[in-house]
Subunit: 440 residues, 2 copies
């Protein structure tokens, strides 16, 4: 393509981006975040700051901690925060209330879930079902923790690709740990079919939702998922290292036997009994004293999904009060103001448009998309294999296009439908094309 063609094509794509933005029913949600002139395509690593967070966190610090102090465990609702915030996340992943608790890191929750799954698969404790299958392409921490869980439950860990799972299942399989979306390629795995296959084998499934929750429908209840974990600092925008969550399906809760039975999961935590008796329900996924500052920042961040707080005094000036479209995207069926189905539709439109713009702007053969073309197999990110990816990403960031680099040769771009616009997408692809063109 000649330079002139590229330029004409570019004008056309820029115009199209503006039209897509104008028609975007979620466009107003951008005002619920603190953003600047950069194109932020790293929300799959750390979500942007919601406008609702700073004021709420200041109140937690000054009034709830500073003034009420110890009384806040009751009076400010600190004690019940893990399950209350779990219920706020629930609609986003297709779960009815009472099945999610927030707390600890994703790694710690993977450990709880996987050990508990093995124990469910071997209720007599006689060592039957001696294998754990784990996604060989997973984010490494899941694999490391799975290895520890296998070692500590006397099981063998068997890494397989998600595609190999159906053939690898047998009556030896106790539990299977899979990622809903591959953190590197952005590939979305078939949660309903894989869950069903695991169940046919009589085993238990643990899904890691880190790269899907908040970006696309998960349908935990609908598909009969057993256990799930996820972080909250990507598409849920909870803040750096914000607490993770654990889902335990309602009917499995009486059988959830935690390897980390901390005092806050006790049936009577303040009776200080020397012997452990687990609480009923999802609460038995709790461990130690909840980490209140991070947890309540996350709770405020979730306001984004429930109507936002654009008009708050601490609103950082970003769109203060200008947008008030609570109910955007018709939240019916999800329990939230923002429907996850609308978010998914925009996510696919964004990644489709990005791939088109990349085709138009980037010299032929310079990058290769690792992200599946089929919508059913695509998460909310695009991963491009590229020589010198590390150097290229540095240059992009220098020009205000923030993605990230995954060793050794991947440019990773995350598209958070709540605040990424089509204009952002066109600009990112254009800057990428210019950068790769100038690098020759």
């Amino acid at each position: 393509m000649s330079e002139l063609d590229t330029e004409l094509n570019g004008r056309e794509l820029a115009r199209e981006a503006r039209e897509l933005d104008a028609a975007d029913e979620l466009a107003g949600l951008r005002a619920r975040f603190v953003l600047d002139d950069a194109v932020y395509l790293d929300g799959n690593s750390l979500g942007a700051l919601p406008v609702s967070v700073p004021g709420r966190l200041a109140d937690v610090v000054h009034r709830e901690w500073g003034e009420l102090r110890i009384r806040s465990w009751d009076e400010s609702g600190w004690w019940a925060a893990p399950e209350r915030i779990g219920d706020r996340i629930a609609p986003l992943v297709g779960a009815a209330p009472g099945q999610i608790v927030v707390g600890d890191s994703t790694s710690v929750n993977v450990f709880k879930a996987l050990v508990a799954a093995v124990r469910m698969a071997d209720p007599a404790g006689d060592g039957r079902r001696d294998e754990i299958l784990v996604d060989a392409t997973t984010f490494p921490t899941d694999g490391y923790i799975a290895e520890s869980a296998a070692r500590m439950t006397g099981r063998t860990l068997r890494p397989v690709t998600p595609a190999e799972v159906p053939a690898a299942l047998s009556d030896r399989t106790a539990a299977v740990l899979l990622n809903h979306v591959d953190y590197r390629t952005g590939r979305l795995h078939d949660l309903p079919a894989l869950t069903a296959a695991v169940h046919r084998a009589g085993a238990y499934i643990v899904w890691d939702l880190c790269h899907s929750a908040g970006a696309l429908p998960v349908g935990l209840d609908e598909h009969g998922v057993d256990l799930a974990v996820g972080c909250t600092y990507k598409y849920l925008n909870g803040g750096p290292g914000s607490p993770a969550y654990l889902y335990v399906r309602h009917d499995l809760q009486p059988h959830f036997d935690s390897p980390l039975p901390g005092w806050t999961s006790h049936a009577q935590p303040f009776a200080m009994h020397p012997s452990y008796e687990p609480a009923a329900g999802a609460l038995r996924g709790r461990v130690g004293t909840p980490d209140i500052l991070s947890m309540l920042a996350l709770e405020a961040a979730l306001d984004v999904w429930y109507g936002g707080r654009e008009g708050s005094a601490e609103g950082s000036g970003a769109g203060s009060g200008a947008e008030a479209e609570a109910g955007t995207g018709a939240g019916a069926g999800t329990g939230t103001g923002v429907a996850i189905e609308s978010v998914r539709a925009k996510s696919l439109a964004l990644t489709d448009f990005f791939l088109r713009c990349v085709s138009a702007y980037v010299p032929e053969g310079r990058v290769e998309s690792l992200t599946p073309a089929a919508h059913a197999e695509r998460g909310s990110q695009v991963a491009l294999r590229c020589d010198d990816a590390g150097d290229v990403m540095k240059r992009l960031i220098h020009q205000g296009v923030i993605g990230d680099f995954r060793h050794p040769d991947v440019l990773r771009f995350g598209f958070t439908p709540l605040y990424v616009s089509f204009t952002d997408v066109e600009r990112a692809a254009r800057v990428l094309g210019e950068t790769l063109g100038s690098l020759g």
Copy 2:
């Protein structure tokens, strides 16, 4: 004692309190906290808000998360926060740098430490040393987690009182988990002697420092402690549910085999290797992504020990700039501005004075102190057994004396030497006496 005697005695004690306050070299530290008219004797449950926290946390949220976003993992030092803050805590517990990491809850750290201790005691993995001793009087979570650690490492858990430990030790003992200070009675256990006894038996010791760190010298390095854990929201004032910490003695670090080998403890965390290789040093106590908001609030809270930030713009008006006595208490030997030895001296003076005031004000036989009279056996709290303790504590709180109630019959008063005055102590005992007197 007649009412007149009590009143005369009371005038005398009030005068003495004022004199003790006037002579208190740590008195100025109170300005480093947000306090009100209440007498806050619950710092052993939730420490008061340090003046240094709100401004710093607002900066973390607005600038580091809101503006720098993902760049802050490097540029704002987020990634190294667990070990950096560990090094800030280290002098307070008598540890050289490089042995403490901050993160997770106390319960999770007890699990890491105890499993690692059992593995150290059985390097060949042949099941030798099949017992774990645990403090039978411990805060329950330690016992629950110890039971899980025993179950998952194939050991037998044997609860004993700390006094019974020396006799219970044998070549069957793998590890011993003890509390430095009993959360209920305030009894301080003999860490040097118990550590030495455990070592003579060839076993490993894990100390829980929740109720001692920040209130008295611990001397981890000096006494050759193997592993230790502690929370940071009591005498370290890190905020509700702030992250806990894990100490692994330097020479044991190569043998620390974590049951929670999350990705942030990997030797090359960003290489995303499918196989686990632990980092060198204390870093292998890390697990998942660090919880930045809570962790940096804790870091700011520790300013109290290093000179404070009373003059900060966000200083909440409490003592803004009026006090500037960095170096109070001659921090030589601890590496901090506030010497833990001075804190200990004041702590004992406070609890001594409280016990005297209680004797003077409280009707004979109405309460019984569970806290040892001997200084060597006393932490920084006083526990009084009292009929109707729950009701009595409610009345005290209503009158601005904040302690807490421990089921079934204990009034618990914690004395944080950084901000509790002798005048506070006299008032608390007087209100207690009046309350118990009026209750008949």
